[in-house]
C-alpha cells in the first residue's frame, strides 16, 4: 500500500518535471535498499547516507533509497546478505577495503566481494604519517633509521593487521629492512591518545583525524601516504617522493550489488552514481571528510577488487598473517 503510494507520488513528481530520472533501458520499480555493514553514525553508514542526500538534493533519484544497517560479524552479516539477494537489482551495498580483506583472513566469511556485482569505486581516503611535535623525527627516513637502529623499540599505533596502516608498515619494513612494533587499538581515538601521550612514536592517520592536531602544533606530518601531495599539506613529500618506492595501498569505498543482476541495471546504477559523485553536494561531503574522489566504472571496479585482493594477499602473507583462502 505504502509502496504503491510512493510510486504514485514519484510518478506525479516525474510528470511535474521535478525529477530528472537517469535515462536507461532499466529503472528501479520499487524502493532500493542500500546496505551499510555498520551501525548508524559509523563510516560506511555516513557514506551511504551522504550519497542518498546528494541524490536527493540533485533530484537524481528515480524513487526512494532506504539505508539499511545490516550489522554483525564485523561486516560478514552484510556481505552474506548481499549474496543471499542474488539477482535482486533493488539491493545495493557500500563496500570498503574491509569487504576485500575480511574473506582473506576469516574462513567463516564465505561471501566474497569478487563474486558480487561491482558498480563503482567512488572515493579513497588518503592518509598521513604523523609524529608528536616533540619527536626527533623530521622525515620518514629519520623514523625508519631510528627503527633500524633499535629494532622493535620504536612503535606505531594502529588498527588490525589487515588495516591500511598495518599494510603500509609491512611494505615499508620489507623495503627498508627496518623493524618496528605495531600496537593495535580498536578505535581511532585510542590510537591518537597513545600517540599524543607519547606511548607510541608514529601513527598513520586520516587527515580528518590528525588535521586539527597538526594545526594546533601538537603533531607533525612527516610523510603522506598518497599518490600525490594533498592540497592541505603542500610542503610534505609523499612516501615515494621521500625515497620509499612502495606501491600505494589505497583505502577505497564504493557501491556494489548482489551477484547476477541484469546488465541494464548495472548500467543504470553506474550512471546514477557517476552523476551523484559529480554533484556539488557530494563534493562538499568529500571536502568535509578530506576524502578524494576516485571514480572507477563498474568494469574497472571489478578489476580493482581482484588486483587489490592480490596485493593484500601478498602483503599479509609476507607479514605472517594466516590466510583463510
Amino acid at each position: 500500500m505504502q509502496r504503491r503510494h510512493l510510486i504514485a507520488s514519484g510518478a506525479a513528481l516525474a510528470v511535474a518535471g521535478l525529477v530528472r530520472p537517469v535515462r536507461a533501458a532499466w529503472a528501479p520499480s520499487r524502493p532500493i535498499e542500500f546496505v551499510a555493514h555498520n551501525g548508524p553514525g559509523s563510516g560506511p553508514d555516513l557514506f551511504a547516507r551522504a550519497l542518498v542526500t546528494a541524490m536527493e538534493q540533485e533530484r537524481l533519484l528515480p524513487g526512494r533509497v532506504q539505508v539499511a544497517n545490516r550489522v554483525g560479524g564485523g561486516g560478514a552479516t552484510a556481505m552474506n546478505y548481499m549474496m543471499e539477494r542474488r539477482g535482486d537489482p533493488h539491493v545495493l551495498g557500500v563496500w570498503t577495503s574491509l569487504w576485500l580483506s575480511l574473506p582473506l583472513v576469516q574462513a567463516e566469511a564465505r561471501a566474497l566481494a569478487t563474486d558480487m556485482t561491482a558498480i563503482a569505486r567512488i572515493a579513497i581516503e588518503p592518509a598521513l604519517m604523523v609524529v608528536r611535535a616533540e619527536s626527533p623525527y623530521q622525515t620518514a627516513a629519520d623514523f625508519v633509521n631510528a627503527a633500524r637502529a633499535r629494532p622493535g623499540q620504536v612503535r606505531q599505533s594502529g588498527g588490525s593487521p589487515t588495516a591500511r596502516d598495518a599494510l603500509v608498515r609491512q611494505l615499508l619494513m620489507a623495503n627498508t629492512g627496518a623493524r618496528w612494533a605495531f600496537v593495535s587499538f580498536p578505535s581511532g581515538g585510542e590510537r591518537m591518545a597513545a600517540l599524543l601521550g607519547g606511548h607510541v612514536d608514529m601513527m598513520i592517520a586520516e587527515p580528518s583525524e590528525a588535521g586539527e592536531q597538526v594545526r594546533a602544533g601538537r603533531l607533525r606530518v612527516i610523510a603522506q601516504v598518497t599518490e600525490a601531495r594533498l592540497p592541505g599539506f603542500p610542503q610534505v613529500p609523499t612516501l615515494r617522493e621521500a625515497g620509499f618506492p612502495i606501491t600505494d595501498v589505497v583505502q577505497a569505498r564504493g557501491v556494489l550489488a548482489p551477484p547476477g543482476i541484469p546488465a541494464e541495471a548495472v548500467e543504470f546504477y553506474q550512471d546514477l552514481f557517476k552523476r551523484t559523485s559529480e554533484s556539488p553536494a557530494w563534493q562538499r561531503y568529500l571536502a568535509d571528510n578530506q576524502f578524494q574522489g576516485a571514480w572507477l566504472s563498474a568494469a574497472d571496479t571489478a578489476e580493482f577488487f581482484t588486483t587489490y585482493q592480490g596485493q593484500l594477499r601478498g602483503i599479509l602473507a609476507e607479514g605472517g598473517v594466516r590466510l583463510a583462502r
Partner: protein, 501 residues
C-alpha cells in the same frame, strides 16, 4: 583563559529561547531513548543528525548533547522497574534497583537514580568546566599498562560482587571472560570460538547478555517460584513513592563515590561507562557497613552506579572538547556532527569557536536541571506500572526484552543468543551462581586482554612494564588490597572475642 567570562557568555547563548527549546527537546528525546532498551544514544544521535543540518551549530550540538545526557538518565527506568537494562551503563542498576521495586520501593529507587544522576552529572560538568585541560593531560598519561591495572582493579571487585560462594563467583567470572573472547581477534585478525558462524565474527553484544541473564532469567525464575499471582506492594500514598530522608542519607557517600569514579573513568578514552558503574558499585559495597545486604535492594546500590554513569558523560566531554578525541561511540558521533557544522573539535576549538564551546558547556548545566525537572514528576507515574498484575507484566517484560535485543543490531541471530543467555541465567540462578561476575568479566575481559597485549608489544615482551609505571602500580596495589582484605579481616575478627562488632 577566563573561565567565568566564557561561561557567562555561554549561558547568554544557551539561554536564548530557541537554544533552550532545543535543549529541552534533546533531553526529552534522550530520556525516551534511554527508557527503551536496545536503542542507544549513539544510534539515535546518528539518525537525528540529518535533521540538525539546517540548524545553527550551537542549537544543534545543544540538542544532541541533551540526547547524550538524557539517555543516561532514562537508562535506569527499565532497570529498576522491569530488570531490563535500558543502556549498557545501567546494567549494574538492575542488581539493587529491581529488588527495591519488588519491595515496593520502585518510586524511591527511581527518585534516587534521578537525584544521583543530577548531582553526579552536575559534578561532572563542573569538573569539565574547571579542570578540562589538566585532566586531559592526565588522561594522556594513561596508556595500556594503566588500562590493564584499571581492569585488574575492576576484576578484583568480584570478591565483593560474588554471592555466598567465591568458587561459583570465580567460575561465572571466568565464563564471562571466555564469552568476551568470542569473535575476531584485533591483533591477528583471526577468529576465535566462532564455531564456523559468520555472525559470531563480530562477537556477542553486551546488551544481549545483560538482558538475557537479568530480564529473561528473572522472569523465568519468578514463574518457577509461582509468583505471577502475588501482587507487588505499591504504596498508594504519594509521599511513599519518593525516596525517604533515611534512604537519601544512606546514599550520601554513594553520590560522591559515583561522581568521582564516573568522571575519572569517563575521561579515559576506551574505558566506557559500564566499567565506571561497576567500579562505583564495587567500591560502595566494599566500604559499606552492611555489604551482605547489597543485592537485596539497598538505595546505595542504585545511587552509586547511576551517579557514576552520569558523571561519566561529563568526563567523556573532556577529551572530545580539549583534544578532539572521542572516548566512545556516542562522543564519536558528536564529533562527526561538529565537523559537519564546520566547527573543528580539538585543541583549537575553545579559541576558534568559543561560542559553541561555552554554549555547549552552559547548556549541559541547563540540560541537567531540565532532566531533573522532567524526570522527578515521572517517578510516581512510572512506579504505577508495577500495579499491573505480574501475569500481565511478565509477558510485557519478555516482549520488551526481545525488542531490545533485536534493536541492538536488527539481527534475528541476537534473539537466539538472547534465549540462550536467558536459559543460562535461569540455570545459574537455580544452581546459585551469581550473574554479576559473569557480566563483569564480559565487560572488562576484552579491554584487559587488549591492554596486556598492547603493553607487551610496547615492552618487547617484558612483563615488568605492567607493574613498574606509578599509576599502574598504585591501582594494582589497590586491587591486591581488595583481594587480600576479606580473608585478613576475617582472621582478625576471629581473634577478637565474640560479641564485639
Amino acid at each position: 583563559m577566563d573561565i567565568l567570562g566564557g561561561l557567562g557568555q555561554g549561558f547568554s547563548v544557551a539561554l536564548q529561547p530557541m537554544n533552550l527549546v532545543w535543549c529541552v527537546v534533546g533531553c526529552f528525546l534522550g530520556t525516551i531513548v534511554g527508557v527503551l532498551p536496545g536503542l542507544g544514544p549513539a544510534a539515535t544521535i546518528a539518525l537525528l543528525l540529518p535533521l540538525t543540518f539546517g540548524m545553527d551549530p550551537t542549537g544543534g550540538i545543544i540538542m544532541l548533547a541533551g540526547i547524550y545526557f538524557g539517555a543516561k538518565y532514562g537508562g535506569s527506568t527499565t532497570s529498576i522497574l522491569l530488570n531490563i537494562p535500558g543502556e549498557a551503563s545501567s546494567v549494574v542498576t538492575c542488581l539493587d534497583g529491581y529488588q527495591m521495586a519488588r519491595k515496593g520501593r520502585a518510586g524511591a529507587a527511581l527518585g534516587i537514580a534521578a537525584i544521583g544522576s543530577f548531582i553526579a552529572g552536575t559534578f561532572g560538568i563542573v569538573a569539565l568546566t574547571l579542570l578540562a585541560p589538566p585532566i586531559a593531560a592526565f588522561a594522556l598519561r594513561f596508556s595500556s599498562p594503566e588500562y590493564f591495572a584499571l581492569m585488574v582493579l575492576g576484576l578484583s571487585l568480584v570478591v565483593v560482587l560474588g554471592g555466598s560462594s567465591m568458587i561459583k563467583a570465580l567460575l561465572a567470572l571466568t565464563f564471562g571472560l571466555w564469552l568476551t573472547s568470542i569473535g575476531t581477534d584485533l591483533f591477528t585478525s583471526q577468529s576465535r570460538f566462532t564455531f564456523g558462524s559468520s555472525f559470531l565474527l563480530g562477537g556477542i553484544d553486551f546488551m544481549v547478555i545483560a538482558i538475557g541473564v537479568f530480564a529473561i532469567a528473572g522472569v523465568l525464575e519468578s514463574i518457577a517460584r509461582g509468583e505471577e499471582n502475588t501482587p507487588l506492594p505499591v504504596p498508594s500514598r504519594m509521599r511513599d513513592l519518593l525516596p525517604s530522608r533515611e534512604e537519601l542519607k544512606a546514599c550520601r557517600f554513594a553520590f560522591a563515590n559515583g561522581s568521582v569514579v564516573g568522571f575519572i573513568v569517563g575521561v579515559l578514552p576506551g574505558a566506557g561507562s559500564a566499567i565506571a558503574s561497576f567500579i562505583a558499585y564495587g567500591i560502595e559495597k566494599a566500604v559499606s557497613r552492611h555489604p551482605e545486604r547489597f543485592g537485596t535492594g539497598v538505595p546505595e546500590g542504585v545511587a552509586a552506579p547511576e551517579a557514576a554513569n552520569n558523571a561519566d558523560s561529563g568526563g567523556g566531554m573532556v577529551p572530545l572538547l580539549t583534544l578532539g578525541i572521542p572516548g566512545g561511540g556516542t562522543t564519536a558521533i558528536l564529533l562527526a556532527a561538529l565537523v559537519i557544522w564546520g566547527v573543528k573539535p580539538g585543541p583549537m576549538m575553545i579559541i576558534e569557536s568559543p561560542q559553541v564551546f561555552w554554549g555547549l558547556i552552559a547548556s549541559l548545566y541547563i540540560g541537567n536541571l531540565v532532566l531533573l525537572v522532567l524526570n522527578l514528576p515521572l517517578v510516581p507515574l512510572f512506579a504505577q506500572i508495577l500495579r499491573i498484575p505480574l501475569y500481565v507484566l511478565f509477558p510485557m517484560i519478555l516482549g520488551l526484552a526481545i525488542v531490545g535485543a533485536y534493536s541492538v543490531s536488527d539481527n534475528v541471530a541476537n534473539l537466539m543468543l538472547l534465549s540462550a543467555f536467558g536459559l543460562l541465567g535461569y540455570a545459574m540462578a537455580k544452581l546459585d551462581f551469581p550473574p554479576a561476575p559473569l557480566v563483569l568479566g564480559f565487560v572488562l575481559g576484552d579491554a584487559m586482554e587488549r591492554a596486556v597485549r598492547q603493553s607487551l608489544t610496547m615492552s618487547m615482551g617484558d612483563p615488568a612494564i605492567l607493574v613498574e609505571r606509578p599509576i599502574a602500580a598504585v591501582m594494582l596495589g589497590l586491587a591486591a588490597a581488595i583481594l587480600v582484605a576479606p580473608p585478613v579481616l576475617r582472621a582478625l575478627r576471629r581473634r577478637r572475642p565474640l560479641g564485639v562488632a
